[in-house]
C-alpha cells in the first residue's frame, strides 16, 4: 500500500516509515501541511496517516479541506491525546478512524484494512499463488470455486507467506507479527495457526512446509 504520513516529529516519522516499510508498504513523509498538499497533488495514496498538531496548522483543517474537495482517500488520524472530544470532532470532519499514539502496528494495519474494506477498495489487492486466490482487502481465500472468509490471524499469516513465497519465517518472527506484545504466549501457539492455515489451503497446490529447526515457508507443490 502507498501511505502518506503527515507528522512533524521527524524521529517519530522516520520510525513509522521504517516500520511500515518492513511490511512492504511505500510511505511518503510530509512534515507539514504544505508539503503534504504538494505530495497529495501529484501522487495518489491508498491511505493518509494524519497528525493533528502541525507547525503550519491544524490537521483538522487539512481534513475538512480534503473532504470538501470530495476526496475519498481514507484518513486515519494519529493522536497523542486520547481526548475523545478530539476524536469525535475528527470523525465529524471526515476522518475514517483514529488511533492513539503509541500504536501497535498490527492494530494500525487492521484499522487500515477495515477502512479500505469499508471503502470498497482498489482492484490490486488480489494475489494468486499455486491455485490460491487471496484477497488481502476482503480477507478471503479462493480455491477453485470456493471462496472462504479467513479469520484474522489466518489471514495475517497467509499475508506474510504469500508476499514472499519460498522464504523461511522463523516461529519467533511469525509470533512477533501475529501476537501483540502484551500477550504472554509460547512459541508453540503459532503451530495452532499454521495448522489452521494448512487446512484452509487443502485442495490447492500451495503448502506450508516445516523447515526443521528454522521455521516455515510457503511452497508450490505442483
Amino acid at each position: 500500500m502507498r501511505f502518506l504520513l503527515v507528522e512533524d516529529n521527524i524521529q517519530l516519522a522516520k520510525a513509522v516509515v521504517d516500520r511500515l516499510a518492513l511490511e512492504g508498504h511505500v510511505i511518503d513523509h510530509a512534515g507539514d501541511l504544505e508539503t503534504a498538499q504538494s505530495f497529495f497533488d501529484v501522487t495518489s495514496y491508498d491511505l493518509i496517516l494524519l497528525d493533528i498538531m502541525l507547525p503550519d496548522g491544524d490537521g483538522r483543517d487539512f481534513l475538512s479541506t480534503h473532504r470538501n474537495n470530495a476526496n475519498r482517500t481514507p484518513v486515519i488520524v494519529l493522536t497523542a491525546r486520547s481526548q475523545i472530544s478530539d476524536r469525535v470532532s475528527m470523525l465529524d470532519l471526515g476522518a475514517d478512524d483514529y488511533i492513539t499514539k503509541p500504536f501497535d502496528f498490527s492494530e494500525l494495519e487492521a484499522r487500515c484494512r477495515a477502512v479500505l474494506r469499508r471503502q470498497g477498495g482498489a482492484a490490486n489487492n488480489l494475489r494468486h499463488f499455486a491455485g490460491v486466490g487471496f484477497d488481502s482487502l476482503a480477507g478471503t481465500i479462493t480455491i477453485g470455486d470456493v471462496t472462504e472468509l479467513l479469520r484474522n490471524r489466518e489471514y495475517r499469516l497467509l499475508e506474510i507467506f504469500i508476499a514472499t513465497p519460498g522464504q523461511i519465517f522463523s516461529k519467533s518472527h511469525l509470533m512477533d507479527r501475529l501476537f501483540s506484545f502484551t500477550e504472554d504466549v509460547s512459541e508453540n501457539a503459532i503451530e495452532v495457526y499454521i495448522g489452521r492455515l494448512r487446512k484452509r489451503l487443502e485442495g490447492s497446490m500451495a503448502k506450508i512446509e516445516t523447515v526443521r529447526g528454522l521455521g516455515y515457508r510457503l511452497i508450490d507443490v505442483s
Binding site: N9, Q11, L12, A15, V16, D18, R19, L22, M53, A80, R81, S82, Q83, I84, S85, V88, D97, T100, K101, P102, F103, D104, F105, S106, E107, A110, R111, R113, A114, R151, N152, R153, S172, H173, D176, S180, F181, T182, E183, D184
Partner: protein
C-alpha cells in the same frame, strides 16, 4: 459585635440587639406614662384641695368684728368624691385656730393671698397632701389675715397611681412583645437574600462552577463577586490541570511511540532469541506505561467533564454500536468475535456522549484484553426501568478479588499480574456511571468462565 459574636448567627445578633432596643423603649415608655399619669393624679388632687380651701375661704364672713365661718358642706364633699380618703382642715384667723384640727401644721412660709401652698407630710400616721390658702377678711374696718389649710390622705391617689402603673406595665410589655415580633420579622426579611443565595448555591450540582447569578441586595454583591472570582479561579485551575495532563500525555506518548516503533523495527532485524526476548520485554514495558498514561489522561478528562457535566439527548444504542465498531479491529487481532445484540430501536438517554463512550470503551477494552484468542464477547443492552449495557467475556474472570473493590483506583483482579493494565478502566466506567446516576455492576459469568461487566444507566 467583634470576637465574642464572630460565630453567632447574624439573625440571633439582630434579634438580640433589636429586642434590647425594644426593652429600653418599652421601659422608657412605661416610666413616662407612669410619671405623667401620677403627675396628673397629683394635679387633680391639688386642684380639688385648692378648690375646697378656696370655697372654705369664700365662706368666711365678718360679723360684729369677728370673723366667722359657716363651713360649706360642698367644700368637704368634693374631696370625698375622689375616694374614701380622710380629710382634715384648719382655719386660722389672726393666728388663732377658728375651727378644725388645731394640730394640723401650718406651712412655712405662710402663703400669701391668691397663692396656694402645697405640701406633703405625715400626719396622724398617714401621708397627707395639704394645701394652705391665705385670705384677708375685712372685719370692722380691719384687715384680718386668715389661713385655710385642707389636707387629705393619699390612699386614693396611691390606688390610682398603682392602677396606672399596672396599666402602663401591661402596655409596656405589649409594646415590647410587639417590637420584638417586628424585630424577628425584620431580621427574617433582612436575611432572606442571604438565604436565597445559600439556596441557589446549594441547589447547584457538586461540580457546577458557573458564577452565581441570583438577584441580590448591594450589600451582598461584594461577597458574591468574591465567591464568583474564587469559583472562576477554581475553574481555571481545573481547566489548566486538564490541559496540563493532556500536554503531559502528549510529551510522554510521542517519545514512547518513537521507542516502541524503533524497537519493533530492531526486533525484526535481531537474530538471537535472548535479544528478541529482551526487546519484547521492553516493548511490553512501553505498552504498559503508554497504557497507564492513556488511562490517567482518560481519568483526568473524565473527572474534568464530570465536574462540568453537560447532558444532551443521546441514543445509547448508537453510542454502544460506535464503540464496538471502533474496537472491533482490536478484537479482530486476537480473533475475538464481538457479538453485539442491541435492540433495534432508539434508546434515548441524557448524558455526555464523550463520557459514556469513554466508559463503554474502557469496559470493552478490558474485556478484549483479558479474553483469550478465538473467544466471544457478547455486548447486549437490556431495557427495563433502566438500561443495562452488559459485556460478557470468556476470559479468566476476576479471580478471588473483591468485586466491589474493582472500581477503586488502581485496583485489579488478583489474577491479572501478567497482563498490561493500570486498574483505572473500571474506575473510569464507575465514575461516569455515577455521574449519570447509574452504576457499574460486576459479576462472574453464569455460563462458564469469564466475567460480565454491566453499565447500568437510568432511562429518561
Amino acid at each position: 459585635m467583634t470576637t465574642p459574636f464572630a460565630n453567632s448567627s447574624i439573625r440571633r445578633r439582630l434579634v438580640i440587639q433589636l429586642s434590647l432596643i425594644a426593652a429600653i423603649l418599652s421601659l422608657t415608655f412605661y416610666l413616662i406614662v407612669r410619671f405623667v399619669a401620677e403627675q396628673a393624679a397629683i394635679d387633680t388632687q391639688d386642684n380639688i384641695l385648692a378648690a375646697s380651701a378656696t370655697s372654705i375661704a369664700d365662706a368666711l364672713y365678718s360679723e360684729r368684728g369677728e370673723v366667722n365661718l359657716e363651713l360649706p358642706y360642698s367644700a368637704l364633699s368634693m374631696l370625698g368624691s375622689i375616694s374614701e380618703d380622710r380629710v382634715f382642715y384648719r382655719v386660722i384667723v389672726d393666728g388663732e385656730t377658728l375651727t378644725g384640727y388645731t394640730d394640723l401644721p401650718e406651712p412655712t412660709p405662710l402663703p400669701i393671698p391668691s397663692n396656694a401652698v402645697f405640701s406633703t407630710f405625715d400626719y396622724r400616721g398617714e401621708e397627707v397632701r395639704s394645701v394652705a390658702v391665705a385670705r384677708t377678711v375685712s372685719s370692722s374696718g380691719q384687715a384680718v389675715n386668715t389661713t385655710i389649710i385642707v389636707a387629705q390622705t393619699r390612699l386614693g391617689l396611691e390606688a390610682i397611681s398603682s392602677s396606672i402603673s399596672t396599666t402602663a406595665a401591661f402596655v409596656g410589655v405589649g409594646f415590647f412583645i410587639f417590637l420584638t415580633t417586628l424585630s424577628l420579622l425584620s431580621a427574617q426579611s433582612a436575611l432572606s437574600p442571604l438565604r436565597r443565595m445559600t439556596q441557589s448555591i446549594k441547589r447547584r450540582g457538586p461540580h457546577d462552577l458557573s458564577p452565581v447569578k441570583t438577584q441580590l441586595p448591594s450589600e451582598l454583591v461584594p461577597l458574591v463577586a468574591a465567591l464568583n472570582k474564587f469559583m472562576a479561579r477554581l475553574h481555571a485551575s481545573l481547566t489548566e490541570s486538564e490541559a496540563f495532563v493532556a500536554e503531559a500525555a502528549h510529551r510522554i506518548r510521542t517519545p514512547l511511540t518513537i521507542v516502541r516503533t524503533q524497537a519493533e523495527v530492531v526486533l525484526r532485524k535481531l537474530e538471537k532469541p535472548e535479544d528478541k526476548k529482551a526487546l519484547r520485554k521492553m516493548i511490553r514495558a512501553v505498552d504498559e506505561s503508554s497504557r497507564s498514561a492513556g488511562q490517567l489522561l482518560d481519568h483526568a478528562m473524565v473527572t474534568f467533564r464530570i465536574e462540568n457535566l453537560l447532558t444532551a439527548k443521546l441514543d445509547l444504542g448508537e453510542i454502544t454500536r460506535d464503540t464496538c465498531e471502533h474496537l472491533s479491529p482490536t478484537a479482530g487481532l486476537k480473533d475475538i468475535n464481538l457479538i453485539v445484540r442491541i435492540p433495534d430501536e432508539p434508546l434515548p438517554i441524557a448524558g455526555d456522549s464523550i463520557l459514556l463512550q469513554n466508559a463503554l470503551r474502557n469496559i470493552l477494552d478490558n474485556a478484549i484484553k483479558y479474553s483469550p484468542a478465538d473467544s466471544d464477547i457478547h455486548v447486549t443492552i437490556e431495557k427495563s426501568d433502566h438500561y443495562e449495557v452488559s459485556f460478557t467475556d470468556q476470559g479468566r474472570g476476576f479471580g478471588k478479588a473483591d468485586l466491589k473493590s474493582l472500581t477503586k483506583r488502581f485496583s485489579r483482579g488478583d489474577n491479572a499480574s501478567d497482563i498490561v493494565g493500570s486498574g483505572l478502566g473500571l474506575t473510569i466506567a464507575d465514575e461516569v456511571a455515577r455521574a449519570h446516576k447509574g452504576r457499574v455492576h460486576i459479576r462472574s459469568n453464569t455460563e462458564g468462565p469469564g466475567a460480565c461487566v454491566s453499565l447500568i444507566l437510568p432511562r429518561v
